[in-house]
Amino acid sequence: MVNLGDFFYTLGMWLQGLLMRAGLNESAARGAFSALVAALLPLIALLTAVPLIWLERKWIARLQDRMGPNRVGPFGLLQVFADMVKIFTKEDITPLGADRVVFALAPVLAVAGVVGLWAVIPFAANAFGVDLNVGVLYLVAAGTLSTLAIMLAGWSANNKYALLGAFRTVAQMISYEVPLVLSLLVPVLLSGSLGLNGIVAAQREVWFVFSAPLAALLFLIASQAEVSRAPFDLLEAESEIVAGFNIEYSGMKFGFFFVGEFLHSFTMGLLGATLFLGGWTGPGVETYPALGAVYIILKGTFVYFLFVWARATFPRIRIDQMLDFNWKLLTPLGLFLIPLLAVVNRGLSESSVWLRNAALLGANVLLAALVLTILGMRGRSARMRAASNATPAPAALRR
């Protein structure tokens, strides 16, 4: 009997049955099946970049009142394939004096670090690469690989602009890692599980975006910076350091940085959907678990659209503003949010789900109001100081 509602489970069982008929025992069949999944999922992840590039170019174009790609194929759908053909047949130039091994390794790592995140994303109740019991820690660890790749790229190219890009990577991507890790802590805190499937299962009643909206906001901002897109694209900054870390790259190697960036953005969208928007949960998933894949892709695309929207809207910020924003606003906010949520959550662990989540939401709103008040007071006093002395002493302002 074919159960299409539980498509992934049926497919898995069918394949395992096939392997067992070929002469493997049960545990070997299960092992071979998970190895097959582990080998196919990276390919699927890489191929996702093809529709993503088209989708993002169209979105950006519409947001900027342009048409976007519309020449190659219907609605420009074949533009990505044309670009692929072009990029495959380009000459691959390595500048003289570059560190050749590191230079070639960096684009590979940039993609591998992003694709590696897909191993733990649960697409449905029973469709995932692997359900690690330390999934969130794995995300933190694997996510740093793409930061490393950008630093390697900037360092190895033997170019001053690229090196400046690598410096900025240190300042930006490493700094925003702190609020990102803090915001990833909140779903763990609320669900009491380090595995991503456990986190999703804990959101059956209330999504964490409602019980911890500030953490979701922290995640949104910090992951935009991790993907290093406008307004946080200081490491490429065409108008300042030409193209930053990827200035010397051409052909397929450049293409991989491009693919890595788009895929990273979407992967962060999927992670945001998993951690804060309830992942594969939704109406009907209990009877038809395969529907979960549709839900998570829709939710992930929504978060991805928020990233693209921010990219199309905000101008690039200056490096000191970027660092101040992180170390003087986002990091302290995260540091105060976590004990607050922990105490509220633990204190009300005996009471009903709705009361507990309402209290968590209230705590978030209170903290947000406090932060906005402090920011308003600081801004007002800075304006007063600027008005009282017409020629402000720079040293006094900097203190």
């Binding site: 190895a35 890489l46 897909w118 200035i247 170390w327 302290p332 959550n345």
Partner: protein
């Protein structure tokens, strides 16, 4: 093969091999006509002066240091975040206190002026 980490291992190997294979394929498909002028360092048409690997500003180092402190401390919090629900209320307050000590550390770095970009 029942070990989850072997699946992650296969996953990461495939994730590295796939782009690597594409790079090799691109190398086979593309033309190869290297010349000293083409391979020069690109600085918008101006010839490069001196070493490219210049000394970097020490302030980047300060931020990297602050990152190491905070990131390591936060990673220590993950086991606590997983387990505090089953522990007595005292453990929650202790964890909260630990995070507030971290916040004092941030305040110290801030007051020292290490977070001012100049």
């Amino acid at each position: 093969m029942d070990n989850a980490w072997s699946v992650v291992g296969i996953f990461m190997i495939v994730a590295i091999v796939l782009p690597g294979a594409a790079l090799i394929m691109a190398r086979l498909l593309g033309p190869k006509k290297p010349s000293p002028i083409k391979q020069q360092t690109y600085e918008c048409g101006v010839e490069t002066v001196g070493e490219s690997w210049v000394q970097f500003k020490a302030q980047y180092y300060v931020y990297a240091l602050a990152f190491v402190v905070f990131d390591v401390e936060v990673v220590f919090l993950y086991p606590w975040a997983r387990a505090y629900g089953q522990l007595p209320l005292f453990a929650t307050l202790e964890g909260a206190l630990f995070i507030l000590i971290l916040a004092v550390g941030l305040l110290y770095v801030w007051r020292k002026g290490a977070l001012e970009w100049q």
